[in-house]
């Protein structure tokens, strides 16, 4: 066996992102506008889920407040965009500027929560962020002059650039925006987790005392991890605002935070690839559930009751089943299968495949060691 020549991590990740960008670019032309919109929604989820998977899987902090952080991003984008719209700024750079403002706002909110939570462990952190998720929508009613309460705000979106042609579907344009944001998020996170910060986070997750003895500033790394994932949630929330062209508190309830958690856990927490599976599943599962209830001939009352609630129950069931049966999630299963196949091909058992060892089942939710 020769060791492969090492390509610098950044170059490898850039190349991967470029290939993914080309493939996805082609894909948006193949898909019809509805599918493009689904793809865009999954990409927006992915921004937030990727940040959350790093926080949960690599740093061992469980946040239920990321839905609220998405709301911070979304409302910031909405308000900045509307300012641009009111002043007649229709250039595309304005959208980038508002998304940046959304990320900054969510980063600041994340810093506040992260600092308050820096000393908290396990259920305390989950509880505090749960309260954030329940409480933050109340801000929109308390300051209803700015946020228009339950009604929410509409978001001004500059028209699709003329150079793309007159009948270019807006959904494809939205998909490009969202996919670009998701790829950027993945690229940044992939480099962060391969670097010093990622190593420190894993060290703290595995043994906090040992990490601090090794000179890792535990509290600071915890806060930075929270802030990074908050920034990702802000970008995801901003993309939500761009996609829906409106923001309202009922889009950012506790359920959204739980959906993000589902995407992280089902995909395989700690794994960016897992976040991709999870985000796709989040969109597709809801779509399939709607198709299913739409396809059956049900009385109208029952159909309205099933809409929205069936996916919710399925999500919850999936969360429980995955946690019990395959804590590594989809990505955990995939990498186990990959190891098994490799073991077969090279004619010798890979170091884990043949063992029913205790570590064959990784200690989820810190699941994937890839």
């Amino acid at each position: 066996m020769t060791t492969p020549r090492r390509v610098p991590t950044l170059v490898r990740h850039l190349a991967g992102a470029a290939v993914a960008a080309v493939v996805l670019f082609g894909l948006t032309y193949v898909l019809d506008p509805f599918r493009d919109y689904q793809l865009a929604t999954a990409a927006a989820y992915l921004c937030a889920a990727a940040g959350l998977t790093v926080l949960i899987g690599l740093n061992g902090q469980l946040s239920l407040g990321h839905g609220a952080l998405m709301a911070v991003g979304a409302y910031s984008v909405a308000m900045v965009q509307n300012q641009f719209g009111d002043h007649g700024v229709t250039a595309q750079w304005a959208l980038v500027a508002s998304l940046a403002a959304g990320v900054v706002a969510a980063t600041l909110a994340g810093a506040v929560i992260g600092l308050a939570a820096a000393r908290l462990r396990g259920p305390y952190l989950a509880g505090l962020t749960l309260v954030v998720a329940v409480a933050l929508p109340a801000v929109t009613t308390v300051f209803s002059g700015t946020f228009h309460g339950d009604q929410g705000l509409s978001v001004y979106l500059p028209p699709v650039p003329d150079s793309l042609g007159a009948d270019f579907p807006v959904e494809r344009w939205q998909a490009w925006l969202a996919l670009a944001a998701a790829l950027l998020t993945l690229l940044v996170l992939a480099n962060l987790v391969r670097g010093r910060l990622g190593r420190s986070m894993r060290a703290i997750r595995d043994n906090e005392v040992a990490a601090s003895l090794a000179g890792i500033p535990v509290a600071r790394v915890q806060v930075v991890a929270f802030v990074v994932s908050a920034a990702c949630a802000g970008l995801g929330g901003g993309m939500f605002a761009v996609l829906a062209q409106s923001v309202s508190p009922d889009a950012f309830t506790l359920t959204l935070s739980l959906n993000l958690l589902l995407a992280v856990v089902v995909g395989g927490s700690g794994s960016l690839a897992g976040a991709v599976w999870g985000s796709l599943l989040l969109v597709l599962l809801r779509y399939w559930a709607d198709e299913l209830t739409g396809g059956l001939s049900l009385p109208a009352g029952l159909r309205t009751r099933l809409a929205g609630n069936l996916p919710l129950a399925l999500f919850g069931l999936l969360l429980i089943v995955v946690m019990m049966a395959a804590p590594g999630g989809v990505q955990g299963l995939l990498s186990r299968a990959g190891r098994w196949v490799r073991g077969r091909l090279t004619g010798r058992p890979s170091h884990r495949a043949g063992l029913p060892a205790p570590d064959a089942e990784p200690p989820a939710p810190v699941a994937s060691h890839t």
């Binding site: 949960i56 061992g60 469980l62 239920l64 308050a116 939570a117 000393r119 908290l120 396990g122 259920p123 305390y124 989950a126 509880g127 505090l128 749960l130 309260v131 954030v132 329940v134 409480a135 929508p137 109340a138 801000v139 009613t141 308390v142 005392v209 506790l254 359920t255 739980l258 958690l261 589902l262 856990v265 009352g301 309205t304 009751r305 099933l306 929205g308 609630n309 069936l310 996916p311 919710l312 129950a313 399925l314 999500f315 919850g316 069931l317 999936l318 969360l319 429980i320 946690m323 019990m324 804590p327 200690p363 989820a364 939710p365 810190v366």
Partner: protein, 292 residues
């Protein structure tokens, strides 16, 4: 001054419910080191059952009894079927599974009953009786105080005066030793969950008539307040949960009364942040050791 008195009584009445709900959280925390995030949805489920039973039979008290029994059964089932399987996994797994139960519960209840608020009856008049010319306390408030007080006496007697209570405490305090001494630790955990869910069901019956009505997410804000109450008291201390519950009830009542009802969720958040920053282990904690 009248308003202040009224808000105080109202706050204590809500606080008593938060105290009961926080007590349920503390029961499970002491036994299993799990914060039962599904507590709220379990209580909503039993309240929906009470709604159905009361609607079919016409008797409020039959529904009340059904809710308590359902709580007992539901708690035991959740422990046996779900929570036991993640007991040995990292603590985050149990939290995630409990959150999964929240989604399942809310989804199933939404499918069965729909997502509109259902009117939920109160067994007693909720309008305040005047004491010395001041509208002070309603019959329903008195019912709440009496029920919660009775509950606390029963729990205190159970845990300090009975053999079962002693076994439950032993199982929670030192499972291996308790097992060696012949305590069926698993059975005690199941009993603990069943008891906690019963207490939660009772709290649901006491608080849902005072809110907007019955809804799959009706207990979310109650859970949040009760969690804050439990943290104020230190999660480990039943007495702390009671004091914390009353304290949170009072604070929220004053905030709602003087600043507007919309601000209460933010007040809960502020209270929790302050407590966690100042005394993360609760107001009633001694020095703590962390295992290395």
């Amino acid at each position: 001054m009248d308003r202040f008195l009224f808000l105080t009584v109202d706050g204590l009445s809500h606080g008593a419910v938060y105290a009961a709900f926080a007590l349920a959280l503390v029961l499970i925390w002491r036994g299993t080191r799990i914060v039962n995030f599904a507590q709220g949805v379990l209580a909503v489920a039993t309240s929906y059952l009470a709604y159905t039973v009361t609607g079919r039979s016409g008797s409020y008290w039959l529904g009340f009894l059904a809710a308590l029994l359902a709580g007992l059964v539901l708690g035991a089932v959740v422990e046996r079927l779900v929570m036991r399987r993640v007991a040995d996994a990292p603590p985050l797994n149990a939290v995630i599974v409990a959150l999964g139960l929240v989604l399942v519960g809310q989804g199933v209840l939404g499918m069965l009953y729909g997502n509109q608020f259902l009117p939920f009856p109160a067994p007693f008049d909720r309008s305040a009786m005047t004491v010395g010319g001041v509208p002070l306390v309603s019959r329903f408030d008195l019912f709440v105080f009496g029920t919660v007080l009775l509950l606390m006496i029963v729990l205190a007697v159970l845990f300090t005066r009975t053999a079962t209570g002693l076994r439950m405490r032993a199982a929670a305090f030192a499972p291996p030793v308790a097992r060696l001494l012949g305590v069926r630790v698993g059975r005690m955990l199941t009993l603990g969950w069943a008891l906690a869910a019963l207490v939660g069901a009772l709290a649901g019956m006491l608080v849902i008539p005072t809110g907007l009505g019955l809804h799959p997410t009706a207990m979310d804000t109650v859970f949040v307040s009760a969690f804050t109450a439990a943290v104020v008291g230190g999660l480990d201390s039943p007495a702390g949960a009671v004091v914390g519950g009353l304290l949170v009830g009072l604070v929220l009542s004053y905030v709602a009364g003087y600043l507007g009802a919309g601000t209460t969720p933010l007040a809960v958040l502020a209270l929790l942040v302050v407590v966690l920053l100042a005394r993360p282990a609760g107001l009633f904690s001694g020095p703590q050791a962390r295992r290395v």
